[in-house]
Structure formats: C-alpha cells, structure tokens
C-alpha cells in the first residue's frame, strides 16, 4: 500500500476471532486486515509482528462494522454483508461464505450499513442501515425477516437487550428507539437532544453510540454521553466529555468511551471522568475488548489513522498494530 493511502486511512471496525488470538480490523478502503495478537504480544515480537498477517479487500466501500460469532466473521460495507469463515481466514483462504444485501427501497445511492449486532435469542443479525431502517437477518435461514421502520434519518448504532428481548437503535435523527424483537414494534422512543441536561446544540442531535447493561443504557453523540435508567427512561448521569463519542462500553465498574480526540476516556458510573489515556489516532472510531481469550486480554482502539492501538493494561498504550 502506498504511503499516501496509509496516511489517509481510517480504521472503522474491529472484531476478535472466537479463539481470541486474531484481531480483524476494517478500514476506509474496504480492506480487512488480520493481525495476530498472539505474535504481537509474545515477548520476542518484532516490528513485523505488528503488521497484518493477511490483508484482503472485502468490500468496495469502507468496512463500517465487523462482528464475529463462534465460527464466522461478518463484515458490512457498501450496503452488503459478507461472512467469512475464521478457520479459512487463518489459513489465508479469502473467499466469502455468503454475501447478502438487505432489501433497500432507495435507488440512487446504496445505503451503508453502520452497525451490526447478534441477537443470540433467535440467532438473528440486527443491522442498522443507511436507509433509516433496522433490518433483521435470520441466520438460520439466511433471509431478512423483519424491517424495523420509524427513524427519520440513518441508523448509527444498534444493540440488543437480551433479557427483555428488546433491540435498541440510535439514529442521526437524534432518537433512541426500543423495539420488541418478537413483534417488530417500536416500544419506546427517547429523543435525547430534547433533554436539557444532555443536549449540545453546537454539535447536533445525532446519537452515534448506544449500549446497554441490564437496566442501564449509555448513549451519546451530538448530545453528551449519558447514562440512562431504562425502567424510568430518565438520564441519571452525564459525562463531561468534549467532542462527540462514537463508541462506549461498560467494563467492570467503569465506562470506556472513544470519539473525537486522541484518547480513551475512563468514566465512573457516577459521572466523573476518571482518566483520559492518550493514543495514536487523532480521533477514534472503535474500541474493542478481547474477552475471548484469557491470555490475550487486551483493549484495542482504532480511528483516523492506519494504526490500531493495543492496551494490555487499560492505563497506557502498549504498542500499535498498523496496516
């Protein structure tokens, strides 16, 4: 790859292999790079081990989302979803198992797929797409069984609330919608930007990250990152982070969030920002914790750079993988 292309590359998505020894990262040129964590984390690792063991072009557009279940890697780009077998990928065989495309209505521009999440209850894949809808793909039969309509702008992010059989989606229109996964009906709609405590009109109203943990929800974007109690549907704490957050995750008793700005923010549930750990890219798109393997338990973050920063300890950056 030419140095100029490397210079303008962004990493949008990451996913760890089921064995936890590999990391797949998708970039803005539609490529997926496979890094060997086992090699990069070994004591005698060299600079060559921080390069991908395999790079292949998966899609035409940027790879906005990557997801792994116990045998396949699912990648989303340019309006289509492809599945790749992990065992084949580790043997460096690059051939998609299948490629599917939701039923879009609009014609001129192919809507992108911004987010995917697995719903283990009925083995389905929930897809947040650029046509303002959430599509549900039945992985058993390989067909799109439902379309959740209601958002007025494109869907940024989706997540699953397993216990309640609910799906959540955050959208550019500023709303977080909760859907009943069985009926496909919209249960609730929270317009976050209308809450004064969260709203930041200077940025905008879109919601770019949503994640849940039992009765709690984290959401942020144009409005500041906030923790919500879902039963009462009310915000409980705001996190005073500058810039828009693009991904957040619950980790033990803390919240990790990334977004604009070259750092990973560590927040306490109460609303304080505990630490901001610097990293290489000037803004971050994705954060991923490897829980698949106890030996390679790391945090990786990617953003507007060809580097993927690796944190073996949450409090400092250990090294960078790079395309």
């Amino acid at each position: 790859m030419e140095p100029v292309e490397l210079l303008h590359m962004s990493v949008f998505s990451q996913s760890f292999s089921p064995c936890g020894r590999f990391l797949a990262a998708g970039n803005s040129y539609g490529e997926i790079g496979l890094f060997s964590l086992a090699a990069a984390l070994s004591p005698d690792a060299t600079a060559a081990n921080q390069k991908p063991v395999l790079t292949f072009t998966a899609h035409k557009g940027p790879v906005f989302s990557l997801l792994s279940n116990d045998c396949v890697l699912l990648s989303a780009g340019n309006g289509e979803i492809s599945a790749w077998s992990w065992t084949e990928l580790t043997k460096k065989n690059v051939k998609p198992l299948w490629t599917k495309r939701p039923n879009y209505k609009s014609g001129l521009e192919i809507p992108e797929i911004n987010s995917m999440v697995l719903n283990p209850q009925d083995n389905s894949l929930v897809v947040g797409a650029g046509d303002n809808n959430v599509h549900v793909l039945d992985l058993e039969h390989g067909v799109f069984k439902t379309v959740l309509q209601g958002h007025t702008d494109y869907v940024h992010c989706v997540c699953v609330r397993e216990r309640e059989a609910e799906l959540l989606s955050g959208s550019e229109d500023g709303a977080v919608r909760m859907w009943d996964s069985r009926t496909g009906q919209c249960v609730h709609c929270i317009e976050v930007y209308k809450y004064e405590s969260c709203a930041r009109p200077q940025y905008g109203k879109w919601i770019s990250c949503v994640t849940t943990d039992s009765d709690w929800m984290l959401c942020g974007g144009g409005p500041s990152l906030s923790l919500w109690h879902l039963r009462s549907l009310s915000p409980t704490s705001m996190f005073p982070l500058s810039g828009c957050q693009r991904q957040a995750a619950f980790h033990q008793d803390k919240i990790l969030a990334v977004g604009e700005g070259a750092f990973v923010s560590h927040c306490l549930l109460g609303g304080e920002v505990k630490a901001q750990i610097p990293c290489t890219p000037s803004s971050l798109n994705t954060l991923q914790l490897n829980s698949n393997s106890s030996e390679h338990r790391v945090l990786t973050v990617g953003g507007s750079s060809s580097h993927v920063d690796v944190f073996t300890n949450l409090s400092y950056r250990a090294f960078s993988l790079s395309f």
Binding site: L7, H8, E112, G130, E172
Partner: protein, 684 residues
C-alpha cells in the same frame, strides 16, 4: 804600648780587609802591591793544593803549640809584656798571616774551579742542540719518502685492453715487445700509448658521424618545407569543394571536423557523444549533439602521459617557487589550490540539445571532472514563447531542481564515485554539494550515459562501457523530455494560479460542477522549513513524505468568511508522483485535517483519489485539477455545515450543490464525490 799599637794595626787591618788582603805586608809602601797580587795568582798555579793543605795542618799545630807555651808561661807567672811571651806572640802572628794566605788561596782555587765547570757545560749544550736538529731532519726525510711511496698514478683508472689483445692489435713500434716483455713499467707505458692512439681514432669517427647526421637533418628539413607548402593548396581545394558538399547535402566536412574534435574528448564524454549521435540518427531526429570548449587545451592534455606529468610537476614546482618568493605559503592557500586542481573540468564539454514538440529546447551541458572521474550536467531551458514571469515558478526551471530525482532518489548532490570520498578528505572538501552550483550535478544517470559505473549499495549487475550507456539512452531521453514538458506545463499553470485562476482544460470539465464558488486567492512558494513549521503538516513529515528535494507551495482558497489553507508538497518527479495536500480551515475557529474528519476526507479526496483527476496523459493537469477539486470540496463542506434546522436566520452559504445525503457513516462524512452527468454529490 806595643799592644795598643797592635790593636790599632789590627783595627786598621780589619778596616781595609776587603780591598787589600795584603795590608800587613804592604805597610809603608803601597806601590808594589799589584805585583804581589799578580804573584799570588801565579803562585796559585804553581802550588799544589795538597801541599797547601799540609802547610795548613802544620801551621795550625805550631800555633796550638805556641798558644799552650804562652799559657804555660803565663801560668808560671810571667809578666805581661815579657819578651818571651812577646816573642811567642810574634811567632803566632806570623802563623796567622800564613793561615790567612792559605785561606785566600783556597777561595781563589774554588772560584777558578767553578768557572771551568761552567765553560764545559756550555759546550755540551751547543752539541745537544746540533743533535736535535739532525734528528728532526731525519724524520722529515722519512715522511717525504713514505709520501712518495704512496703516490698513485692516474693511469690506473683507465681501463686498458688486455695484454694479449694489446700484443695482437698494436703495431710493433708501439708495443716494442723486446723492451716491454720483461719490463712491466715499459709495458704499461706502451699500453697507454696504444690507448691514446685508439681514442684519437674514435674521436675522429664521431666527428664524421655528426657531420653526416647534420647533413641528413638538413635534407629532412627541406623535404618538410616542401610538404608544408602543399597544405595551403590543399586547404584551398577543400574550401572550394564546400559549396559542392553543401549542394549535395553531404556534410562530410562538418562531421569530420566533429569527429576530429571528438578524438580529444575524455572517454566518458566520447562514449556519450557516440551514443547520443547514434541514438539521434536511429530514433530521435530532434536530438543534436555538439562539442564545446578549447580544443588546443584538450590536445595538450591528451599528449603522452609521461610528458604531461613532467610538465605538471615542473609547473607545480614553479608555482611553489613563486609562492615562496612572494610570501610563505599558508596551508590554507595550498589546500585551495589543491581543491581547485581536484575539481578541474576537462576543457571540452558536450552539449546535447533536446527539442520538444512545442518548440522549447532543453540544453544539457555535460562535463567531465578529470581528477574525480565523474561526469556532471548543467541544464538550460529555452522556450519558443516568452514565459510570463510567475514568481512561484522560479524554482521550476532552475538547474538544481529541474533534473532532480529523474530516477528515484537521484538527487545529484553527492558524488557517485566512492573513491572521491578519500580524495576529498585529503584536501578538506566536506561535501560535493557545495560545488554543484559551479560544476554541475553528478546524477547517476549522467554517469550511466557516459558508461561510468560505480558500485553502490543498490547496484544489481555490472554493466560496462558503451553497452551501459546505450541501455540507458532511450529511457533517459524520454524521461528528460517528459520532465521538461511537465515543468513547462507547471510554469504556465503557476502563472495563472498566481492570478487566482485555476485553469481547467476542456477534457477535465466533466470532473467538476459548472459552478464553483470558492476561489483560489493566493498561490505562493514556501520553504521546506516553513512547511515543516506548519501545525497541520506534521503527519506528512512524520510519514517521510516531505523531502528536502521537494518543492513546497501554499495555496489559499476563500469563500465568504471561510479560508482554506492548503500546503502542497510537489515532488520533482511530478506528475509521476502526485502532489500532496494538507489543509487547514479557518472558519468559526481553526480546524485541520488532524482534528476534523471531514477535512481529512477532503485531503484524501485530492491525495488518494488522484487518479480521477489525472486528466489526459501524461497528467500535466493533475495539480490544477486537484486545486479545483479542493475548491469544490470546500463548497460542499461549507454548504452542508450546520444542518440544524432549529438555528434561525439566513445561512451564510446557501445550499446550491445537489447532495443525496449530507452525512453518512459513523464519522458523519459529507458527500465530496462528484458524479458527472447527473451532477450530484455522493459519498465514497
């Protein structure tokens, strides 16, 4: 009474003792005294000392006897002045007198003895002196003799013919065997005579030979004169034939002349000359080669090497002498001279003119540095049309950047010959780069064209001589032509960029929407340092994409209150390597490609997706197309910013571009891609 008189006499005697020892006898008459003294002296001769001694003993005994008789008399009571005593006294007085005389004689005898001894001693001394003189004479004579014995004759150094040969060859009147057979001295003399005779004969012979030689030389001179007189005639004939040659379009004369001059070219320039001529005849009629410089000087240089070396050393010595005369030479001055000597160029140089289709010509001047064994090149571009002076284009056609990096990383600032490093160390040249301005640039391809090959870190195979030159000629000439054309194109473009016009050719119209509102307001050149100091170019420098050899520019694009700064890295190999833009937007605060994902997307729009902007081959319009694209992207950026409908009041930038969606994807990028026939903007 008589005793008184005696006393008186005694005292008298005492008084006159020294002068007259015989006062007692000479009382009454003083005249015969001399006779008496004389007598005494005579008496001395006649008397025997032994007799005197006996007399003395006798006198002393009788005196002692008289004394004792007087004493006896006295003791027996004789009266003072009795006759007996008186008599006795008289007798003793006489005895005293006698003793006195004896004493005197003894003294005189002693004196005489002494005188005699002295005389004898003087005689001995004279004799001793004589003896010494004689001894000295003997020694001197002995020395003379030994000197004579050591004498060497000159004839011993002369190599003589052996004795047998002498008897064989020499006539009998010289050899005289009857005399010489037995007498070695005569033999030697005879042999010397023979030697002299022979030498005389040889001298005669030598004189004869000299005379014939002179004669022959004179005849040669005459013949030469004759031949020389033929030259003007021949020249006249040649001159007369010139119109005929021209008429028949057969430039024998010129090519011959050039070939004649080319013989004096140093080998690398000769290889280049031959190859360039061959190439121009075979493939490229627009390439012409000529030789410049002082032929005579070159001729002097191409003389046999030992001669020239002598000359050099002589002149060096003279120079040094001169210097010492003037002043004690400082080491600095000497080093300067040595440096100048080291970087000396061959007096002949090669000029290759490369004509392009549009009438512009690239003049390449090739030089050969004799002592460094490398070739250098200088360039000049002449154009058919007068180039309007664009300030920012000043660097483009300059000798130092025009040919930089013709082949990748061939900057021509350091000498390609590794041996030069050691030569430089000797004379204290730190870097060849200080001299390229004067001497020209020693690019690798120049060495290759001249058939010089230096093993470097990146050398693959060894190619030698003219085959090496031939293998590079075509590709290099193509590259040179491409380089000049791209520079001339850039030159023209810069002239209009400085007048805030972004030229877009008709072929490229479809790359951009019809209406572009953002305008380029400034286009200036900046230095490498200025570029590095910009806060938003750090990533480019860190990625190693801005090099010292690159050219740097700053463009400012404005629309309304928004102002976009674009720092541009232009590689000397443009358009093969595309320009690299880094942008920073000054609108409602400062943001750059580092802080704003959309500006980063704009950067990648012009830097990464440059292939769409290439235009017709070979892509001379890439830079202007990139700038135009930047203007379009700024339009889109500004028009789609601040979508929030809740904000009241008129917008600064009304939406004019047609966009399907204003934002897309997780990082909410704006649609920067233009779709031609439909005229809308979409996302990548």
């Amino acid at each position: 009474m008589s005793s008184d008189a005696l006393k008186k006499r005694k005292s008298k005697v005492l008084r006159t003792e020294g002068g007259t020892p015989e006062v007692k006898r000479g009382r009454g008459d003083a005249d015969p005294q001399d006779v008496r003294v004389y007598n005494e002296e005579v008496e001395l001769d006649s008397k025997d000392p032994a007799q005197d001694y006996a007399q003395y003993k006798e006198s002393c005994e009788s005196l002692a006897k008289l004394m004792s008789e007087i004493q006896e008399l006295k003791a027996s009571g004789a009266k003072e002045g009795s006759t007996e005593v008186e008599q006795k006294r008289m007798q003793s007085c006489i005895l005293f007198m006698n003793l006195k005389k004896l004493n005197r004689l003894a003294h005189m005898r002693l004196k005489r003895g002494r005188d005699q001894t002295h005389e004898a001693k003087q005689k001995v001394d004279v004799l001793h002196l004589q003896l010494q003189n004689l001894l000295y004479e003997v020694m001197h004579l002995q020395k003379e003799i030994s000197k004579c014995l050591e004498f060497k004759s000159k004839h011993e150094e002369i190599n003589l013919v052996s004795e047998e040969e002498f008897y064989q060859d020499a006539p009998t009147e010289i050899s005289r065997p009857q005399h010489t057979k037995n007498d070695p001295h005569q033999l030697t003399l005879a042999r010397l005579d023979w030697e002299l005779e022979q030498r005389k004969r040889l001298a005669e012979k030598y004189k004869d030979s000299q005379a014939t030689k002179e004669k022959i030389q004179k005849s040669i001179e005459v013949k030469k004169e004759h031949l020389r007189s033929l030259q003007p005639g021949l020249n006249a004939i040649m001159q007369a034939s010139l119109p005929v040659q021209e008429y028949l379009s057969m430039p024998f004369e010129q090519t011959q002349k050039q070939a004649e001059v080319a013989r004096h070219l140093p080998p690398p320039l000769y290889v280049l000359f031959v190859q360039a001529n061959a190439y121009s005849q075979a493939c490229d009629k627009n390439l012409s080669v000529s030789i410049n410089g002082d032929v005579d000087e070159a001729k002097a240089l191409s003389k046999p090497p030992d001669d020239s070396q002598d000359d050099e050393s002589d002149s060096d010595a003279e120079e040094e002498q001169e210097k010492t005369k003037r002043r004690r030479p400082t080491t600095g001055g000497q080093l300067d001279d040595k440096r100048r000597e080291m970087i000396k160029r061959h007096p002949l140089s090669l000029c290759v003119d490369l004509k392009c289709k549009d009438g512009s010509t690239l003049h390449l001047f090739f030089y050969y540095l004799m002592n460094l064994n490398i070739m250098t090149v200088k360039t000049k571009v002449s154009t058919s049309t007068d180039l309007s002076m664009a300030i920012s284009a000043g660097e483009l056609l300059k000798s130092d950047t025009l040919l930089s990096c013709l082949y990748s990383s061939d900057q021509g600032r350091e000498t390609p010959n590794p041996a030069n490093r050691y030569q430089f160390d000797k004379v204290g040249i730190v870097s060849f780069a200080d001299y390229v301005e004067d001497l020209g640039y020693p690019y690798m391809w120049v060495q290759n064209l001249g058939g010089l090959h230096f093993p470097g870190e990146t050398s693959e195979g060894m190619l030698v001589g003219s085959s090496l030159s031939a293998s590079h000629m075509e590709s290099t000439m193509k590259l040179l032509r491409g380089r000049v054309q791209s520079r001339l194109a850039l030159h023209k473009q810069f002239a209009s960029l400085e007048h805030s016009i972004v030229p877009i050719s008709s072929e490229c119209q479809n790359l951009f929407p019809a209406k572009i509102i953002s305008r380029l307001t400034r286009w200036t050149t900046i230095s490498h340092q200025e570029f590095m100091d910009l806060p938003y170019t750090r990533h480019v420098t860190d990625a190693g994409l801005s090099k010292e050899t690159d050219l740097y520019f700053m463009g400012v694009i404005e629309r309304g209150t928004a102002r976009l700064h674009a720092a541009v890295v232009l590689s000397p190999r443009y358009p093969e390597i595309s320009p690299l833009f880094s942008v920073s937007l000054n609108w409602k605060g400062e943001c750059s490609g580092r802080t704003d994902d959309n500006l980063r997307a704009i950067e990648s729009e012009v830097n990464v997706f440059k292939n769409e902007l290439q235009g017709p081959r070979p892509g001379h319009q890439l830079l202007t197309n990139q700038i135009a694209r930047l203007c379009v992207c700024l339009d889109v950026y500004l028009e789609t910013e601040g979508q929030d409908d809740s904000v009241e009041g008129p917008r600064e930038f009304p939406r004019e571009k047609m966009c399907l969606r204003t934002v897309r994807g997780p990082n909410r990028l704006k649609p920067f891609k233009y779709n031609h026939p439909q005229g809308f903007f979409s996302h990548r």
